[in-house]
Symmetry: D2
Subunit: 420 residues, 4 copies
Amino acid sequence: MSEKTACQRYESQVRSYCREFPVVFQRAGGPYMWDVAGRRYVDLLCGAGALNYGHNDPHISAALRDYLLSGGPVTSLDLYTVAKSRFVDRFVDVVLRPRGMDHVVQFPGPAGTLAVEAAIKLARKVTGRTNVVAFSGGFHGASLGSLALSSSPLLRRAAGTPLGAATILPYDDGSPAALEVLERMLQDRGGIDPPAALVVETVQGEGGLNAASAAWLSGVQRLARESGALFVVDDIQAGCGRTGSFFSFDGSDLRPDVVCLSKSLSGLGLPMAMVLIRRQLDAWQPGEHNGTFRGNNLAFVTAEAALDHWTDSGFLAHVDRLGAEVGGSLRELADAEPDGGARVAGRGLMSGLRFDRPGRADQLKRRLFARGVIAETSGGGQVLKFFPALTMTVAQWRETADLVGDAMTARRRPAAVLGA
Amino acid sequence: MSEKTACQRYESQVRSYCREFPVVFQRAGGPYMWDVAGRRYVDLLCGAGALNYGHNDPHISAALRDYLLSGGPVTSLDLYTVAKSRFVDRFVDVVLRPRGMDHVVQFPGPAGTLAVEAAIKLARKVTGRTNVVAFSGGFHGASLGSLALSSSPLLRRAAGTPLGAATILPYDDGSPAALEVLERMLQDRGGIDPPAALVVETVQGEGGLNAASAAWLSGVQRLARESGALFVVDDIQAGCGRTGSFFSFDGSDLRPDVVCLSKSLSGLGLPMAMVLIRRQLDAWQPGEHNGTFRGNNLAFVTAEAALDHWTDSGFLAHVDRLGAEVGGSLRELADAEPDGGARVAGRGLMSGLRFDRPGRADQLKRRLFARGVIAETSGGGQVLKFFPALTMTVAQWRETADLVGDAMTARRRPAAVLGA
Amino acid sequence: MSEKTACQRYESQVRSYCREFPVVFQRAGGPYMWDVAGRRYVDLLCGAGALNYGHNDPHISAALRDYLLSGGPVTSLDLYTVAKSRFVDRFVDVVLRPRGMDHVVQFPGPAGTLAVEAAIKLARKVTGRTNVVAFSGGFHGASLGSLALSSSPLLRRAAGTPLGAATILPYDDGSPAALEVLERMLQDRGGIDPPAALVVETVQGEGGLNAASAAWLSGVQRLARESGALFVVDDIQAGCGRTGSFFSFDGSDLRPDVVCLSKSLSGLGLPMAMVLIRRQLDAWQPGEHNGTFRGNNLAFVTAEAALDHWTDSGFLAHVDRLGAEVGGSLRELADAEPDGGARVAGRGLMSGLRFDRPGRADQLKRRLFARGVIAETSGGGQVLKFFPALTMTVAQWRETADLVGDAMTARRRPAAVLGA
Amino acid sequence: MSEKTACQRYESQVRSYCREFPVVFQRAGGPYMWDVAGRRYVDLLCGAGALNYGHNDPHISAALRDYLLSGGPVTSLDLYTVAKSRFVDRFVDVVLRPRGMDHVVQFPGPAGTLAVEAAIKLARKVTGRTNVVAFSGGFHGASLGSLALSSSPLLRRAAGTPLGAATILPYDDGSPAALEVLERMLQDRGGIDPPAALVVETVQGEGGLNAASAAWLSGVQRLARESGALFVVDDIQAGCGRTGSFFSFDGSDLRPDVVCLSKSLSGLGLPMAMVLIRRQLDAWQPGEHNGTFRGNNLAFVTAEAALDHWTDSGFLAHVDRLGAEVGGSLRELADAEPDGGARVAGRGLMSGLRFDRPGRADQLKRRLFARGVIAETSGGGQVLKFFPALTMTVAQWRETADLVGDAMTARRRPAAVLGA
């Protein structure tokens, strides 16, 4: 296993997931990955949401190969290219126009955190204010601007400097007071500087699969409007189909001023991010936000191909079906936990199980890995997260759910696999 | 030209390069790009330094196609993969070990700015200090942490909030006092908070192709050591061969604690960044810096293939030859400018011409575009930048240099091409 | 009225109270002030709490005159002086020892805001943390460090720069959820950086005479302890007898790590401030906080004299009696407001009336001024504040209360007095 | 010596000067102080510049006693009072009008640091910028806003949080490059955010008696104008006569937009501060900066009396004479130091000796104290500072200078006085 050795010897201690799943992956397809020993794993981590269409989706992958053979430019800053134009055109047709969204698109660089950085810069520019409101349990990225909006104590501490010009307010906890406290704090004498933006995730993945209610989200939108702030939805993880529809807020009354997208946007897992900006708020001067990899033509090509899924009624019906199936399984699994110690968390295909017993989720993560299932915990280790590929078949899911059930009822974990 | 229309209609006003070179690119190979009308352009912009090996380098491109066909995972967070291990192994063999560098590597996300963000976080963590020193004219990225180290007034203003915990000191201007003022400011009573790091570019690309002297750089390294700060070289643009050697500081006495790489690292223009950290400074705790696209396996594969160039004596000899050729041409071109109004700027293949006459560089940029050459200005519009592909043949360069000479002596620009 | 003219012509527009009470004061004694026309005013503003013993208290004033005649040093930095030693000794005897408080004293400069600046510096030093928690509606001073803890939108905006490293959380609003939201936000994943201190006023004067409940304050103290933060009581306005006891938290279970005092500390209205620091938290290095006017010997002398009141059983009984009287009057006055539109606000001799009707408090302020009573509004203009001198006789108070009643029932304000 | 004990036992470790001069002072007059043992000291510390007229100046002291007997209000927020009006009127007559200065006055609170806080707030408000430029070696106060402009590493570290929105640039060091580096850094691409203000001391007291040249100061004023920043002179220590004229910049071409005054402004050492604001820059809204002790009527009275000195030709002639005398003595003393190891530092009556030998200044401070002279060091211990009272007679100075000479030539320090 010399491949692992190389990383262990030469890669920084900052590496993290590989400590939980200490094998070397070589091949991947659909919902599965295979390690160098040929062992198969069901991937419920899905690139932390970057692989909603599964690994190496044949349609998307073919588009990429074709483009490479055509000799198209690979990277192009923000020059006009055919690949970019086609993607933009298609995105408007498939996503924006049907929803009546008159937003322009910005390519802020190849990472989700850069979409958030651009969004808050723009909000500050538009409003002339500096403060940005985000919410307890949220995660928006690890660069300094986004980090100021994120709640992870580990990551915040690692900034090594106070994270300025942001206010964290409590996220929806299901109580009726959840919105009241926001109202109170955002009042004139609440002590919070008038915000440039309220930045919210509709479901907090890293924060523990907290799904905000429609009413709370609607209230946040209202408070943004009332306080003269932009209403920004960070749909980087929950968007691109993860909750069952393209945007996580489809079907709601939310009309965000700005939407941040990344992760599964390219369809194949290529680095790509995009900011949607209500047209009349597009106050950018040319070049005010830049970066080398804003023109990732390979990602434009795959992202365009990925959009084909969203005009395919078969795909849409399957996602609905799979979502229902996952929901049903999780309820059954939760019910099977002794003493009512588990509840379903999250929404759509961004779901999981929240356990009362400390250490339970981590125990199950290890047991599942031993059974060939990769699933992470979040929310401080209380929640076991399942991010199945949207293209997973119902049968594949059921087989996986059985493995989860098996892990939950196992007396002990099976013979240990592999050291870190 | 519907492709352009789509971007013009739906892309944010923030777009910039496309306003200078308003055509739609469709194909690219080696030093050339072709627009949808089939017109060929010599690309001296080279993705702002991300395409040092030219467009679609056959060897690198083949490695990517092979990998795609093999079904390897595309994106993998920071899990171990074969592609990543092989790249790391090869990078150690080809780059680090021969230079006696005992550095570990960190993949901080797919953009250069994220390498800088990670580097300054680490420096703050290691030293327990918050302040970071950077230099006038520098550019390190557009996310909030990196932006605090960058000098562009346009970009800084766009932050919309004060950029904290950084001190900008004067860059080498060739005067003997250039180092003295740093010494004085970094003294105990200079008023600058003790820095966690001194972050320097050996050649400032965006700042106007300012090349620091070896003595000044060495002095900066010494001051970093004396003040207990990390010495960080941002080699994102000047590295990966741009100045003629892999690192821009090869052959000097610089031994950076931390090196930031990105741009041409992947060889093909895929989004990728890397931080090299002196092993004993690798104080990261697992997961303290994260991001979805840290495991871009396509980039690992192409980056590994790109390293093959650096073990190819033919390539190395060609780069030397081309560098000499470019240097010679630029001196001739500078001499040809009336009234001694031009000087060669920069170093190696990161060179250009600095003009005294206001507007001259911009005039030439337009004339060159009309002649099928893409070259940008920098340094507030005073400098015309030439970033030729390292793989450009000498003949191709000479032909290009002739076009520059022609543009410089033209009575007027030829019939205008294309509106914005 | 040339005196007014001088100020109007040569003093900055920043002046404020003088616009509300546009006369020129010449003489003052006990609860009264007289203007240059000889008109008498009952002073319920009391120097915003700096004149708890009334104007020119004879005992205190005599001590000052004696000191001046003795030729003692007036200002002495932080050198040892007899005046300072005697005050410190007496303060320990009269205030600290009887309460079992083993605190050391710091003289941080002559203004309350400097006590807060010193307190938060010390808390940051002791804990190694930067964030400081304060509360909605609070006011702690107008210098940059204190301002970050204050809620006034007018003052915060005037900072002209983001106010860093502070988190404002909701103050007690009487609801059971008031403490819960604090608990939630201060949890590990609440998103708030671990605080160095929780800084609280037991009664918020500027914020609208909000008096926190004992349970909430106790909860805040507990949360400070649990989160490893210092528990700091800003008793600058509420202390020195304003709520009826020397500290506003006497008789409660609050045991603050740090207490900030100023305003009435000197007894006569001389600029003076003091920080009480639990002995084992006195982590200051010599000279880490400085300032010219830390050694105001005139104030040491008057402050020592002022402490005599607190060993005088007659004074203590009077303060109790007056407090009861004020409380009774305010309840009657509140009841007299039509439609139940008024409620008593505050605590002890830091009380007032909160009106539902917008503009009502300001109307009454004007009517009272016309009747020779000076009283301010606060809390965004909803609350009419009464800060009677503790030395006011019951008869003087009753007469004043009658004037308030008269103003409340007046059909119209009497003939206008004096323009601004 | 129970008085010392009280402070040693109950005062915070932050105390500093008293460790150098560990006696308890009881009486003071003119240039002298007496300790409780009746020992006399020549005071060359002069309250760090707050006692320019010496201790208990009879004329000023009498004015205070008269006011106290008249029953005038002591403290009055920013209400109009007779005492304030008279001072303002007199200040305009004696100081502003003769210099053609059309400035309004602001009373920002009783400490110099609050004058600086107010000045930079105003500059930010007027310009809409956040950055403020100050200079290496400067000291402007210990509250957070002023501290960001100060160079002391001890004090900056004690802030416990990064000090934002300020840029420290090099102070005049006598080299021709001193101004050039400022010009370069303040250029558009220097990397420094456009400043709201340049804040400068004409002589740096705490920084080591560095006296800037007229040319450099004039250049700073020009750069402020060119960069659209306010030109602010912090004359808190150097003003009110310390350099021999009322303002330290009298007789120069400096026309500051804003001047900060404090320390000796009240004449008697009472806490007082004032900001002079060019009338057309008085952009304050009412109440945007506040504080309890803005209306220190005792200080208004003594400050008015102090101004009488400046209309007294005898006083003015004496100050000139004393300045010449001090200058002469210091040159002689410097010459007497072996190996040319001393130079005169500072300007006017804000002068001292800078020694090459490490520890020399501190040695002399101790020897002088043993001889009954109180003088501090500054500039990191290299400079021995002499701040004689302006009212000191020439004979008193000569006697003092002899003691300095004696200390410099002493073989050893005399029998030690007093422990700390």
